[in-house]
C-alpha cells in the first residue's frame, strides 16, 4: 500500500462526499412521499433535459466501460474501438422508438419493458419471460461495476474484498433511502470528474509520449509483431464483419436493458428524450478518447497488474494513470472510475427491483398490491440484488462475471421482437414471440459455447466472435453471435406466428390503442398514474 497514500486519501474523500450526496438526494426535488414506484423508482417521472442527460449518460457509460474498453484496445487493437460506432449508431436508431415507448408507458403507467409487453400482447407468460430475461441480463452487469472498482483498488495495491463490501453497503443504503434520485444527483459529480480526467489525459499523456503519431506507431508495431489473426491497429479482412455486427448488435441491445429504460421513463416529456438523443453523443467522444488510452498504455510500456500468476488487463488504465499523473490527480481519476461504478449500479439495481415487483410480485404473489407495498418490495429487492452482485464477486472468479455479461448482451437482444418491434406492430402472435425467444436464446448459447479464447486457454465462452467456419465456410471471418441469434429469433417468431394463426390458437388482447403511442405531457390521457388499477 506504500506509495499510494495520497491517491487513497483523495479517493476516499471524494467517495465519501458522493455518498453523502446520495443520502441527501431523498430531499432533492422534494416529493411528498417516496412510497410509490413513480417516486422511488422513477424519481417522480419529472426529470428535464439536463438531469436526463446525466442520468442516461451515467447509466450507459459505466465504470466497466472505462476500464474494459481501453483494456480491449490494449490487448486486441482496433476491434475494441467498436464501442465508438456503437454509440454513434444507437441514438438515431432509437430516436423515434423511445419517444413511442415514453408515450405508451405514461398513458398506461408502465414501469418496466415487461409491463409494456404484458399490455401489448395480453400475455402474462410472455411478460414473465421478458422480465426474467431482463433480470438475468442485469445481474452480472451490476457485478461488473464491482470489477471496475476492483481494478482501481488493485492498482492502489489494495487486495481483498472488504473495501468492495463497504462501498456496496453504502451504495445499498442510499439507494434504499433515495431511490432513483440518488444516482441522478451523483451523476453530475461523476461526469464532472470523468470529463476533467479525460481532458487532462488526452492532452497531457500524448505530450509525454511524443504525440499521437508515435502512440499509433507504437500500437502498430505491437500488433504487427503478434501472430493472432484478430488483432491489429486497424481492422483486417477477418474481423470487419465482427466489428460491424458487434457495433450494430450492441446498439440494438442497449435500450432493451431495463435500466436504460428507467432513465427514459423518468423524463418529463417526449421532447426531453428527443433532445437527449442528439446531446448524448457528447459522451461518445469521451468514450472514443478513453478507448485510445489503451494505445497510450502500449506506447508508455504500461504493464497490467499481475497477481497469483494471473494478469488482469482490466488494470491497464489505472496503472497508466498511476504511471503518468501526479499522485493527487491519480486519486481523482480513480475516484472518477469508482463513482462511475456507483451510478449505474444504483440504476441497474432499481430497474431489476422494479422488474421483480411489477412482473413477478404483483402478477403472481399479490395482485392487489398498493403503491406503498410496491415501493417497499422494490426497496427490499434492490438490496437483495446488490447482495447478489457482491456474492458474484466474492464466490466466483470475476472472469466469470465478464463471461456472464457477454452472455447477458446476447440474451437481452432476444427481447427485441417483443419490446422493440412490439412498439411498432401488433402483428406477432404471443406464441410466436415466445418460440422465437427460446430459439434465439438456444442458438445464442450454442454459438457462445463454441467460441474459444486462445489467449486465456479457455475452450468455451471465450468471446462473442463466432467463426463462420463453424458452418463449413472456408473463411477466417467472424460475426457477432448475438446478431445471428437475433436472426434465428426473428425467423422463428415469424414462422411461429404464421403457424399459430393457421391453427387458430387464441392470441392475447392488445390493451393499447394507436393514439397511446403519440401522447405527450399535458394530454388528458397522460395522467398521474393509477398504479392500483387492474390491467
Amino acid at each position: 500500500m506504500s506509495g499510494h497514500t495520497t491517491e487513497l486519501v483523495v479517493f476516499i474523500v471524494l467517495f465519501l462526499i458522493v455518498s453523502g450526496m446520495g443520502f441527501v438526494a431523498s430531499r432533492w426535488r422534494r416529493p411528498d412521499d417516496l412510497a410509490s414506484l413513480n417516486e422511488w423508482g422513477l424519481g417522480g417521472r419529472s426529470f428535464g433535459s439536463w438531469i436526463t442527460w446525466f442520468l442516461i449518460g451515467g447509466d450507459l457509460y459505466t465504470a466497466y466501460t472505462f476500464v474494459a474498453v481501453p483494456a480491449l484496445v490494449f490487448s486486441s487493437g482496433a476491434i475494441g474501438f467498436y464501442a465508438l460506432p456503437y454509440t454513434v449508431v444507437v441514438y438515431p436508431l432509437v430516436f423515434l422508438v423511445l419517444a413511442r415507448m415514453w408515450s405508451v408507458s405514461h398513458v398506461h403507467g408502465f414501469v418496466t419493458p415487461a409491463d409494456f409487453v404484458r399490455a401489448r400482447f395480453g400475455s402474462p407468460t410472455l411478460a414473465l419471460v421478458i422480465a426474467i430475461t431482463g433480470l438475468v441480463a442485469t445481474m452480472p452487469y451490476i457485478a461488473l461495476q464491482l470489477v471496475g472498482i476492483e481494478a482501481v483498488l488493485k492498482a492502489m495495491g489494495i487486495t481483498g474484498h472488504l473495501p468492495i463490501i463497504i462501498a456496496f453497503a453504502i451504495l445499498a443504503a442510499y439507494t434504499y433511502q433515495s431511490g432513483l434520485r440518488a444516482p441522478a444527483l451523483i451523476a453530475f459529480v461523476k461526469d464532472a470528474l470523468i470529463y476533467i480526467v479525460i481532458l487532462a489525459a488526452v492532452i497531457y499523456i500524448p505530450s509525454q509520449l511524443g504525440g499521437w503519431d508515435s502512440i499509433f506507431d507504437a500500437a502498430k508495431a505491437k500488433f504487427d509483431a503478434t501472430p493472432a489473426p484478430g488483432d491489429g491497429y486497424i481492422l483486417n479482412a477477418n474481423n470487419q464483419l465482427q466489428y460491424v455486427t458487434l457495433a450494430f448488435g450492441s446498439a440494438l441491445a442497449l435500450f432493451l436493458y431495463p435500466h436504460s429504460l428507467t432513465g427514459v421513463l423518468a423524463s418529463k416529456n417526449r421532447n426531453v428524450i428527443k433532445r437527449n438523443m442528439s446531446a448524448l453523443p457528447a459522451y461518445s467522444l469521451v468514450l472514443g478518447l478513453i478507448a485510445l488510452l489503451g494505445f497510450m498504455a502500449i506506447a508508455a510500456g504500461t504493464k497490467p497488474v499481475t497477481a497469483n500468476g494471473k494478469t488482469d488487463t482490466n488494470t491497464i488504465v489505472p496503472v497508466l494513470f498511476d504511471q503518468m499523473f501526479p499522485d493527487w490527480f491519480t486519486g481523482v481519476a480513480y475516484a472518477a472510475v469508482g463513482i462511475g461504478a456507483l451510478v449505474p449500479a444504483a440504476i441497474m439495481s432499481i430497474a431489476a427491483a422494479n422488474l421483480f415487483t411489477r412482473n413477478i410480485y404483483r402478477e403472481y404473489i399479490n395482485k392487489n398490491a398498493t403503491d406503498s407495498q410496491e415501493a417497499t418490495v422494490s426497496k427490499l429487492v434492490s438490496l437483495v440484488v446488490k447482495v447478489g452482485a457482491v456474492l458474484c464477486i466474492l464466490l466466483l472468479d470475476p472472469q466469470f462475471s465478464i463471461d456472464l455479461q457477454l452472455i447477458g448482451g446476447v440474451i437481452i437482444l432476444q427481447t427485441l421482437p417483443s419490446v422493440g418491434l412490439g412498439l411498432y406492430t401488433r402483428w406477432f402472435h404471443k406464441g410466436g414471440l415466445i418460440a422465437g425467444w427460446a430459439a434465439g436464446l438456444a442458438a445464442g448459447m450454442w454459438m457462445l459455447y463454441l467460441i474459444p479464447n486462445p489467449a486465456t486457454g479457455k475452450q468455451h465462452f471465450g468471446g462473442s466472435a463466432f467463426a463462420l467456419s463453424n458452418f463449413g465456410f472456408d473463411t477466417k471471418m467472424t460475426i457477432y453471435a448475438g446478431f445471428l441469434a437475433l436472426a434465428v429469433n426473428l425467423i422463428v417468431a415469424v414462422l411461429g406466428t404464421l403457424i399459430f394463426r393457421a391453427v387458430k390458437v387464441a392470441d392475447g388482447e392488445d390493451a393499447t390503442a394507436r393514439d397511446d403511442y403519440f401522447a405527450d405531457e399535458g394530454d388528458p390521457k397522460v395522467k398521474d398514474l393509477d398504479l392500483t388499477g387492474s390491467h
Binding site: A78, F81, L84, P85, V88, V89, Y91, P92, L93, F95, L96, A99, R100, P206, G211, W212, D213, S214, I215, F216, K220, Y233, I234, L235, Q240, Y243, V244, A247, F248, R270, N271, K274, R275, M277, S278, A279, P281, A282, S284, L285, G288, L292, R514, D515, Y517, F518, D520
Partner: protein
C-alpha cells in the same frame, strides 16, 4: 413531435426522419475508414473519421428534432 390539426390522428411520420438513416449506416461501412492514411493530427483515418461520424450523428438528430418538434 408533429401535432396535427384537432381531429386528425397524431403521427411521428415526417420526411425528415430519413435523415436518421445517415448516422446509422455511415459508421457500419468499414471500407470508408479502415485505413491508416491520411492521418489527421497524428490520428490514423480509422480513428479520426469515426470520431467525425459523431458530429454527423449530432447534426442529423438535431435537425430531425428541430424540424419535427
Amino acid at each position: 413531435m408533429t401535432t396535427g390539426e384537432p381531429g386528425q390522428p397524431r403521427t411521428d411520420r415526417s420526411p425528415w426522419n430519413w435523415l436518421l438513416v445517415l448516422p446509422i449506416v455511415l459508421p457500419l461501412l468499414t471500407f470508408l475508414f479502415n485505413a491508416d492514411e491520411p492521418r489527421l493530427l497524428g490520428f490514423p483515418l480509422f480513428y479520426w473519421l469515426q470520431m467525425a461520424f459523431i458530429v454527423v450523428g449530432v447534426v442529423s438528430t438535431t435537425i430531425v428534432y428541430r424540424m419535427t418538434k
